[in-house]
Structure formats: C-alpha cells, structure tokens
C-alpha cells in the first residue's frame, strides 16, 4: 500500500483496462467469484423444485415471470434452463477463470520471478473477451424462450431445435473459448521464457507446472469445441444439417431440412474438449493444494518429480479418453475396449498424485491454518470423487450408472469439495500477499467446518440416488417409483445445499471485511514460505520485483538439515545465513 507508483496512469488505465497481471488477476478473481455465487444461487432454486416438486418457491417465488415460474411454481423449461446454465457458468465462468485467470495470472508470474506476463495487452484482452462472453450468457436469460436449456453438453438435435437462447449460448461459448486461447498462449510463453535467472524447469513450484499443463490442455482441446460451436451456429442460423440426420419427425411434422448429418459428431467434438476440460478444473487445484501443504507441513512435498511427470502424463492421456462419456451411444467392442483401457490408465497418475500428497504429511510439523484445513479436506474429498470415477470408467457398470445421479455425485465431489475447496485454500493462502491484510481465522474455521459438513450432505446422498437408478436432469424424480422411494435423500441434499449457502456468509463477510479492516501483515512472508511470490513487497508493485531475483535452489527447501530456520527461500544464496527474517 505504501509506495505510490511513479508512472501516472489514469484510474481507468490502472483499474479497468490495466495491463498489469495482478490487476487482471484480481478482475478475474472478483468476476469469477461472483459467477460462482450466481451459479450456486441457480442451483439453490432448482433444489427447491427437486425436494418439493410442484410447490411454489417460498419467499421469492412471486418475483418470477409467468414464463418461468407462474404462481411461484417452476416450469420444466425453466428447470432445464437453470440446469444448463448452472453447469456452463460453474465450469466456464466460475472455476476456470478463478483457477487459471485469477490465481494463474496473479501468482504464476510472481512465482517464476517475472515482471509481468509475456504479452500484457493480450492478457487484458483475454479478460475483456471473457467478460463479454459472460455478459452474453447472462443476457440470454432475457431473450424470448429464455436461456439455453439443453444441458451444458448441448447435445443436438435437441439443441438444434431449442429456442433462441441456445444461439446466445453458442456465441457466448465462442467468446469464452477465444479468451482461453489468448490466455493459454500467454501463460505458456511466460512460463517458458520469463523465468528469473536460476529458475530451471525443475525448480518451478508445482503450481506453475499445473498451470503449464493446464494451458496446453486449453490450447489444444478448446479448438474442437470452437469447431463444434461453429457447426452448431451454422445449423441454427444458416439452416445446415451437420447434426441432423434425414427423416426427423418433430411434433408430428417431418422436419424440413436437408438432413444427412450426424448427432454423434457433436458428442465426439464436445467430449474431445470436455474431458481435458475436467483436468483443467482439477490440475490448478492440485497445484494450489501442493503449495499449501508444503508450506504448512514445513517439509518438501513427497516426490516432486513424480508429481510433475504424473501431471504431464495426465495431460497427454486426457486427449484419448473422451468417449468414456459416450459408452451408451451404441459403440462396438473395439471402441469401448480402447476407451475403458485408456480410462483405467489415466486413473493411475491421479492415484500417484494423490498418494504423493497424502504421504507428504508424514514427518511434517503440521500447522492447522485455515488454508491448510481446506487443502487437507481436499484430499479425501477428491479421493471420493476420483474413486467413484472408476465404476463409471468401466463400460459395463456404466450401463447402470450412466446419466444417473451417481455421475452427478462423482463429478461434484471432484469439483465442489475438491476444486472449490482448493480455491478457497488459495484465497486464504494468498489473500495477505494480495491485500496486505490477513483474513479472520475464526470466521475462516467456521466457514471450513460448516462447508465441509453441508457439502457432504449435498453430494453423498446422490450416490445412493444414482445406485437406485434415478436419472439426472429430472424435473421431478417422484414420477418414477424408484425415484419416489429415495425422495427423502433428495430432501436431505436440498436442505444441505441451502445450509451450505448460508455457510458461505462466513466467507463473504470475512472476505469483504478483511479487505478493509483485516489486521495488516507485518512481514512480506507471513506464512514463512519459500517460493518467490513471498519475496516481493506486499502488495507487489507494478513490475513486481524491485530487483530481478536470482534463484539458487528448489522450490520447497523446508527444514533442511543444518539450517537454523525451518525454511530457505528460493532466492537466498547461502542457506546457512539466517534465512528470511522470521
């Protein structure tokens, strides 16, 4: 806060159209948190309909228009809109922008000792393109017929026949993809070219590695969806039939199109992107968790190299497992054998990564700070999500489990108590660096314990629902006998979701209060960590480092033998000298 900057920049250039990676990171962060919260609100509405089908939404029911919820009772169309937009917003507007756009942008250049990103203007452009994409998505709720309602997967022919909101969805996606491409080029060049002297690839913090692999996934997988989106736009706007076979009869009328297309083409293109995309959701989270665990165990994480190689291998493999989302489309033995085998193979590096993180705890001196609590909870939660991926990955058990709540349970365990918890860990961990103030620990612990309990309350029942055979995307599961039999589980899940929403108030209050009134940090390195982001002034000035740092050692030299302090920052030349101020 102290040293004001000398170059005079107008307020707009400094905070709106800034090219400073830290400001852009904060813009991404705030926008993404708001979208996460919004996406969660959509879901809290849906959970009412699921728990009490056909009953008017209490309190706010009367606020909805007749086209969405007449008399406060949600229409199936509206339910489908909320579902599709929840998925889209959480993935493309919430988690990825927060994990990559915000943390990647803010922390990665600091950790490698760079003055900024390689292409600062491109960086700014990528945020604003993302912003436009988000605005288009939000605006789509207000077009005739409402927002997209064919699921986040937008399978044709349903999405071809859907109302105008679907076109907005495609256009919004094209913006979001463009933004990711700009970002990923920038990230890769920055990591490869802008490392400080001495920062060799194998001295990079795990978080930087995770961003590098993630960027390659975004760079190479997203174009498939770009292509698919273009084709869908052609179908919807120019009347082509890429995804429409001949002889469709819709509502008793033969559809007047040329036909000759293939609905499965979309699914292949979509999942070619969307499987790597799920690793985009998890890798930065793993990176954050690795940083937090290393800092708070006061020892190096176990198996740095095996972590790095596993992440790279995971990246490669993620391009050849996509059709495990499509087992039920009628694929033959050869195809299904190939994809079940690759899916089993890809689970091994995940097991290696998770195991390495768990055994990193052994031998530490573990500090139970708030970020550490979230990082620790991440491990078993991701474990549940990952393990339940195995029955889905084998084609035969997937016959029963495909498109049931079991799948919903599986991936929410990896993204919600998994990735979202890791992101919370990141917020608590880097908040003092970014703002110069600490967040309140008591509120943080309250936030943690309530979130942990309720988030399990939301998602654990889904496995039993799925086992019982309840399909996903059902407006009213009591329509089926096997659904009605487990309706109690749905109610538990819904009540937990609302309580989870309440629990977030601890975070929101803490977050905003601490920005203005949190206790100031005394030291640039309050957690006594080793990586370079802590070697800058707090908050870091434009250009980051007063003098370009030189790196002398690996990223996690904690509790090294013969060294007095229990940590040796990367830019300290002689470890025997008193490392850090402590």
């Amino acid at each position: 806060m102290s040293d004001e900057h000398h170059e005079e920049l107008s307020w707009v250039r400094k905070y709106v159209f800034s090219t400073d990676h830290k400001v852009i990171g904060m813009q991404y962060g705030v926008t993404a948190l708001l979208f996460l919260f919004f996406g969660f609100c959509l879901m809290m509405l849906m959970r009412w309909q699921l728990a009490y089908p056909g009953e008017p939404i209490p309190l706010i029911g009367s606020l909805f228009s007749d086209a969405t919820a007449p008399g406060g009772v949600m229409l199936p169309e509206f339910y489908n809109q909320l579902g599709a937009m929840h998925g889209t917003i959480m993935v493309f507007l919430g988690v990825v922008p927060l994990a990559v756009g915000a943390f990647g942008n803010y922390v990665m250049p600091l950790q490698i000792g760079a003055p900024d990103m390689a292409f600062p203007k491109l960086n700014m452009a990528s945020y604003w393109v993302y912003f436009i994409g988000g605005a288009v998505m939000l605006a789509s709720f207000f077009v005739p017929g409402g927002a997209a309602q064919s699921g986040w997967t937008s399978y044709p022919p349903l999405s071809n026949l859907a109302s105008e909101g679907q076109t907005w969805w495609v256009v919004g996606m094209i913006f979001l993809i463009a933004s990711s491409l700009l970002g990923s080029v920038n990230f890769i060049v920055t990591i490869l070219h802008l490392r400080a002297p001495g920062m060799s690839m194998f001295r990079l913090p795990i978080f930087v590695w995770s961003q590098l692999v993630t960027s390659f996934l975004l760079l190479l997988a997203f174009p498939a969806l770009q292509a698919a989106g273009t084709l869908q736009l052609m179908d919807r706007v120019f009347g082509s039939s890429f995804f429409l076979p001949s002889g469709l009869v819709v509502g008793g009328e033969v559809l007047a199109v040329s036909g000759g297309g293939s609905p499965l083409l979309w699914q292949h293109l979509f999942w070619f992107l969307a499987h790597p995309e799920v690793y985009v959701l998890i890798l930065p989270a793993l990176g954050i968790v690795a940083e937090v665990i290393a800092t708070n165990t006061r020892k190096p994480p176990w198996g740095y190299r095996s972590l790095v190689y596993s992440m790279i291998f995971l990246g490669f493999m993620s391009f050849i497992v996509w059709a495990h989302h499509m087992y039920m489309t009628g694929m033959g033995t050869t195809m299904s054998n190939f994809f079940q085998t690759t899916t089993m193979i890809i689970s091994i590096p995940s097991v290696v990564i998770l195991t390495a993180m768990v055994i990193s705890l052994w031998g530490g001196a573990i500090r139970f700070t708030v970020p550490m609590l979230f990082a620790l909870a991440f491990l078993p939660m991701f474990g549940i999500g990952g393990l339940t991926g195995l029955p889905l990955g084998l084609a035969t058990p997937d016959i029963h489990l495909h498109d049931t709540y079991y799948v919903i349970g599986h991936f929410h365990y990896v993204v919600a108590p998994g990735t979202i918890f890791a992101l919370f860990a990141g917020v608590y961990h880097w908040f003092p660096k970014i703002t110069g103030r600490q967040m309140n620990q008591t509120l943080g612990k309250l936030h943690f314990w309530t979130s942990l309990v309720f988030i399990n309350g939301v998602f654990m029942p889904m496995f039993w629902q799925g086992m019982a055979g309840v399909s996903r995307r059902l407006y009213d599961q009591t329509f089926y006998a096997h659904g009605a039999a487990v309706q109690d589980l749905t109610i538990i899940s819904s009540v937990s979701a609302w309580l989870l929403g309440l629990a977030q108030l601890f975070f929101i209050v803490n977050f905003f209060r601490s920005i203005f009134a949190g206790p100031k940090v005394e030291d640039d390195n309050p957690w006594q960590a080793t990586t370079l982001e802590w070697a800058t002034p707090t908050p870091p000035p434009h250009g980051n480092f007063p003098v370009t740092p030189t790196v002398y050692r690996g990223p996690y030299e904690y509790s090294q033998p013969g060294v007095e302090a229990d940590f040796t920052p990367q830019d300290v030349a002689d470890a025997k000298m008193t490392a850090g101020k402590a």
Partner: protein, 196 residues
Amino acid sequence: MEIPHVVEVHPETGLANAKLGLWLFLASEVMLFGALFSSYILLRVAAVEWPAGSTILNVPMATFNTLVLIASSVTVVMSWASLKMNDFAKYKVYMGITIACAFIFLIVKYFEYTAKFDHGLSPASSTFLAIYFTITGLHAIHILGGIVVNGYLLGPGARMWKTDPEQFTGRVEAAGLYWHFVDLVWIFLFPVLYLL
C-alpha cells in the same frame, strides 16, 4: 519495467516471445482445422451419397485462387527478406503485393459464393455445401485477419521500423508465418473440397 525476450531469443527455446506465441497459436489453429477436417471425413463416410466437388464447385476459379495465394506466400517472404537487407522501400512494395493478393482472393471468393447463392445453393442445401461454406468461410475470415495484420504492419505499424527495427522485423516474420499457415490450409482445402 522491461519484459525479457521481446527481441533477443531465449537460450532454451531459441525463439523470441512473439514467435513462440505464434507457434503455439498455430498449434491451436491446426487443432481447429483438424477438427473440421475430421468432421468432414466423418460426415462423408457416414453419408449415403456425396457429390464430387468438381460437379458443384468452380474448379478454375479455385485454381486461380490457389496460385494467387502461393504467390502471396512468396511475396511475404520477400518483404521480410527486404527488411533483413535493410531495404524498407522494397518491403513496402512486397507487403503491398501480398495484401493485394489477399484482396484478389477474397474478391474471387465473393464471386464464387454469389454464383452459388444465385443458383439457390446454400448451407441448407446439402451437407457437402454446408461443410464447404463453413470451412471456406472460416478460411476467408482468416484471410481477412491476415489483411488486417499485414495492413497494420504496412501502415501505422511501420513506424516501428524507425524506433526498433529488430522488433519490427520480428513482427513481420511472425505475420509471415501466420500467412503461410493460412495458405497451407487452403492448399489442403482445395483438393479435398474441389477435387475429391
């Protein structure tokens, strides 16, 4: 604040920032067009009937366009070489020709498209025409992008030659790489859509 490796190459990759960035961008473009070509193959294999491109499309026009693009690929290299030889006037000439070629390409394409529309042929007519319009349309947008970039380097962007010739030459080189890629895509497109 100085960003490293804007001009001088990085010892490990042997590239400057812009060039590495461009290669990465092209990798992603390869995936984009690769996805579209794969879609083409998938649709064609699954189709009950598929017309020979030459029966619907105008092969002579496209052949002419192929030659125009190949010529422009040569001139864009010449423009960069001129800068290397410190001949700014020649650079302007070659870059000008490159841009002119791009315009010729688009004009010919415009006539091709309108001829189709006049015959009532559109993306809605058949899957073949749909993929034809999509891929060539996307390619035309890339040509437009090339015109914008090259136009900038010929016009306002050329001022940099005075202040920072090395970085300017680097930019022209990167733009040239992009232009080669756009040509290369066409060289794939032409036989696949028009001849096979």
